[in-house]
Symmetry: C2
Subunit: 214 residues, 2 copies
DNA sequence: CATCTATCTGAACGACGTCAAGATGAATCT
DNA sequence: AGATTCATCTTGACGTCGTTCAGATAGATG
């Protein structure tokens, strides 16, 4: 009960209201993201999403078990967008020593540029006490692990590799949640901009201090 | 308009309903913490707090501007409790090289043991885009900075000291938010317990990698 | 004592998440 | 084709929430 109802016969793939009254699952998720971007997470009610999609307050319940499941779908898209951002950052940085820092900066910038989406992503994760399953095998988390593995020349033990990945991930998440805290403003200015500040913080995190000893 | 109305004449310091109908500000915060611990953050409505304190749903508005201000008061208590936990941890660890890791472990354990309270603390901070002001001068943040400063022998530049503190704080917060994620369970088991896991992660964060070079 | 003022109650408003009953219309089956 | 089936959407309702306001209550003050 996920992706049936493809465009019925002869209609544009994803615009207008093609079906019965529309390809709602998708329209709802898009409406939710629109609300998130323009009005923030506080305004993201199920009724507002339905309103934005031009449908009655009860309509979403034919596509999502409850509000949480809609948010899960939004979060899912968010993780994909984060994957893409990290992939791009990884491709851009040629220096393998800098690559890790670049990944971190890209991660935090994603959160800074999509604060509401990032918040939904982590709120969903906390509700389930777990990161999305896909991440362990091919997602953003895996990109971080691979980058660390490359940097260490593939010599790190599986446990050390995992610990280092977790350490890096936690640092990135923590910084992502606090990047816009007012207290950091003077330091950002002193360092000549937010990116420099980010690099500064990440360079103090010796993700490889232990791996390099081996 | 904060702390007047101490116990009126002859009554136990904090039980029953001593005053007009009670020392509400305090009673409400206590009721809120009780609800947080027993039913979690989702159950923490203003009405539920009033109910728990035995007053009408409108009563809290004579002591707090709105729900957010009540939560601020709860968060304020939370930060004090965190301060205490860190102070204790800092006193216990004699080895200055281990002290930083001990602080980190204590921080995350506090979050693990008071998950709902910790969540309220950071939700409030995010709403204001700032950590509590007191922290910069004498709170938990300051303890972390001092510990780093001691460890580096007081030789770190102010900027490096600040960057290292932020890095450590972000890592601690990130780990605190994810410590109970299911994906980490196998690794915890492999390392022989949650504390060992925490130490493992923190030891991969070379908060001093850069400071030690100087 | 009367009065003042902080505190609390009761009732109400709009918004929320959710559900049950009914309407609607595309798809399927003779 | 027409009848039927079934997913989809609407209407209306329920209980809860945050918040406000007019009025009751009872310490504190004169």
């Amino acid at each position: 009960m996920s992706e049936m109802t493809q465009t019925p016969s002869s209609l544009a793939p994803s615009e207008a209201r093609p079906y019965h009254h529309g390809d709602l699952s998708r329209a709802l998720v898009e409406a939710a993201r629109r609300i998130l971007e323009t009005e923030g997470p506080a305004a993201l009610s199920l009724r507002a999403v339905a309103r934005e999609a031009g449908v009655s307050p009860a309509a979403p319940y034919h596509h999502f078990k409850d509000k949480g499941e809609l948010l899960d779908a939004v979060a899912h898209e968010g993780w994909h967008a984060l994957d893409a951002a990290l992939t791009e950052a990884r491709a851009k940085s040629v220096d393998s020593k800098e690559r890790m820092t670049s990944l971190g900066v890209a991660y935090v910038c994603f959160a800074r540029d999509n604060p509401a989406l990032y918040r939904v992503m982590y709120d969903c994760s906390r509700d389930k006490d777990a990161l999305p399953d896909q991440m362990k095998e091919e997602g953003a988390y895996c990109q971080v692990r691979n980058t660390i593995d490359e940097r260490s020349g593939g010599t790190a033990s599986p446990i050390d590799l995992e610990l280092a990945t977790i350490a890096a991930w936690c640092a990135g998440h923590g910084l992502a949640e606090m990047i816009s805290f007012k207290q950091f403003a003077p330091l950002k200015e002193a360092l000549g901009g937010e990116e420099a500040f980010l690099r500064g913080v990440f360079e103090h995190l010796g993700m490889f201090a232990k791996l390099d000893q081996a």
